[in-house]
Amino acid sequence: MTPRLSRLIAAAAMVLPAPVLAQEAVEVTLWHMEQPPHRVARIQELIDEFNAANPDVVVRQEPQNWGEIYAKAPAAIAAGAGPDMLFAIPDFTPILKDLGALTSVEDFVSELDARHDFVDSAVEAYSYDGGVWAVPLYNMTMHLWYRPSVLEEAGVAVPTTWEEWRAAAEALTADGQFGMGLPANRHLYTDQTVYSVMLNGGAAEIYEEDGSLRFDNPETVAAYEFYQSMMPFSPPDAPSWTWGEAEACFASRSCAMILQFTVISTYETQAEGDPADLGVAPIPVREAGQEPGTIAYANAVMLLSPEDSPEREASERFIAFLLEPENYGRFLNMEPGLFMPVTADGAEAESFWSDPVVQEYRSQIEQVIANSENGKLFGFTSGRVFPAIAAISAQNVLAETLQDVVVNGRPPAEAVARGQARMEELSQ
């Protein structure tokens, strides 16, 4: 290098701003499906804090929609335009894993587990084929929501068995009120309510140990028969419901009881908002003495950057940041009462319990966490996951079978047999 060139470089170093010469920050993109503005704002708040504390990393969020992500993510990844981190539910992960877009995060999850102690079932939902394919972030579970004053007025106790549940729904169906709002749409919401009934009727397993389907069994038929018997106590438009309509039905006092992940937010902002008159209970079981269970969606985040890349390392740092107790509660409370912790220290975190809405509805949230102890998800119950469950879930076969019973009037035993045939067809 000539002395003149050296002088020029030295002069440039003095004139140019420091960041130009410094190593460029690693940029990572997070895709998530929490699109409502207040959730985006809360995630951005946490991202801003992380970026400020980690000048060598820039995290950006791009909210997506559950409705399109199943088509969009594979296309974007194939075109090299995918994100570095992508939120997931258990039946979404096998799709990307089968595309070869994921590498196991087992070591990272073990490291986080040692620090925060994950709820076992949350990790199990992503553990199969010799790896762990996503890092659990939060849990969503379904419960029976009601107003104690409404039940008291009708002289009805909180139901714990199917028989009590049906009797309560019948007693509460009066004066323009429906006893039990249950959907029958061919939609994920109906999958969730149907499976919650199946689970409490001894039909939690869809697969045998060897991977063959066992959907068509007497317990499943009994669950569908029971569900059918509850439909007269549900509003006539229930066959077209998704989550929003059910919540509106409850908030407007048109439905005395509904099955839902949470109603707290809607009850607080669109109904009377009286915490003392909001009840939540485990979903009733078929026979007294059984342990109640519920459908559980352990939401997680998949890491898509190549192993050992700076993007992967930056993504792991961000996820570790989110799971730190002082941040984790604020992350979960982007929708208070909906997202539940999947770590032991998160469940006790001050940042979780100090939220004003959580404080107001503390007893309900404690009950939700207690109900979640026996959470299961169809197709992810036996410790082994069969990839065809993604197609079965995507086609809403549980809901489709219910529609066959409720809308087409097919006897439950016949509809369940057809449901199993449909699952087999989708599994090929």
Partner: protein, 273 residues
């Protein structure tokens, strides 16, 4: 017309006005109600409350304005490009004799034979190679491609209705084809241009599938996709939904107000003496 027929006709008109107008009334008035009244067990036809809280929340706490602007840009550009391409194409199908003209004219409608979802993934890959993923241009191109066949069909039909004497007279006066097209024929097919513009605009304004997949960043989202995210999945804010739907109607209503009258203009009224 007898009084009985007039009564029947009047009743029919009232029925259809109510059928079409009531949902709009419901959406617009609902957007000004408080949340409790929106979801009340007994619906209120005339609002009992008035609030701007849903509009306030929509415009202050969400990117609704950005989505609206993106939709306006994409729909306007798609409409313009559709017209720019459809007019010469339709004129060529109408005026120029070439081998396979009739077959090609029928074939262009094949574009509607395939559901858009079928071409989604290959189109994504193609656009990714061209660097067009996550750009408004990608949406403009897709919207134009899907609006164009129908636009060509429609405009050719309008060209075919122009009395040949008009074009011949212009030619005899020495007008070159492009001048004849621009100065003589286009004003005569103004209702067709209006219809095509409305069709292209509304198609682009409501397009969801491609906009949801080809756009990755929030700042470039169009209204249908962005709005679907705002209203939520597990929890639906009904007030926000109604306020957003009300605002989304306005540009389309404005477009109809501006060029809707072209529909009722006589096609060649007074052109041939």
């Amino acid at each position: 017309m007898t009084a009985a027929w007039r009564l029947l006709l009047g009743a029919g008109i009232v029925f259809f006005v109510l059928l079409i107008g009531l949902p709009f009334w419901w959406v617009v008035t609902g957007s000004f109600k408080v949340p409790q009244e929106i979801i009340a067990r007994t619906p209120t036809f005339i609002p009992r409350s008035f609030t701007l809280q849903h509009y306030d929340l929509l415009l202050s706490a969400s990117a609704y304005g950005t989505y609206l602007l993106n939709s306006l840009l994409v729909a306007a550009a798609s409409t313009l490009l559709t017209l720019l391409l459809a007019v010469p194409a339709a004129y060529a199908f109408f005026r120029i004799e070439f081998r396979g003209r009739a077959t090609l004219y029928r074939l262009i409608l094949l574009a509607y034979a395939f559901p858009s979802i079928v071409v989604l993934v290959p189109l994504f890959a193609t656009f990714a190679r061209l660097g067009l993923v996550d750009t408004r241009l990608a949406l403009v191109l897709v919207n134009t491609a899907f609006a164009l066949p129908f636009a060509i069909w429609m405009l050719r039909a309008f060209f075919a209705q122009i009395p040949p004497e008009i074009e011949e007279a212009a030619r005899l006066d020495g007008g070159p084809p492009l001048v004849v097209l621009w100065r003589i024929l286009l004003p005569l097919i103004a209702p067709g241009l209006g219809a095509v513009a409305i069709f292209a605009f509304v198609s682009a304004w409501t397009e969801y599938v491609f906009a949801s997949v080809l756009i990755l960043t929030d700042a470039l989202r169009t209204l249908p996709v962005g709005f679907a995210g705002i209203i939520g999945q597990y929890q639906v804010n009904w007030g926000l939904l109604l306020a957003g739907a009300t605002l989304a109607i306005l540009p389309v209503v404005a477009l109809f107000a501006l060029i809707g009258r072209w529909f009722v203009t006589g096609l060649t009224e007074g052109a041939v003496k």
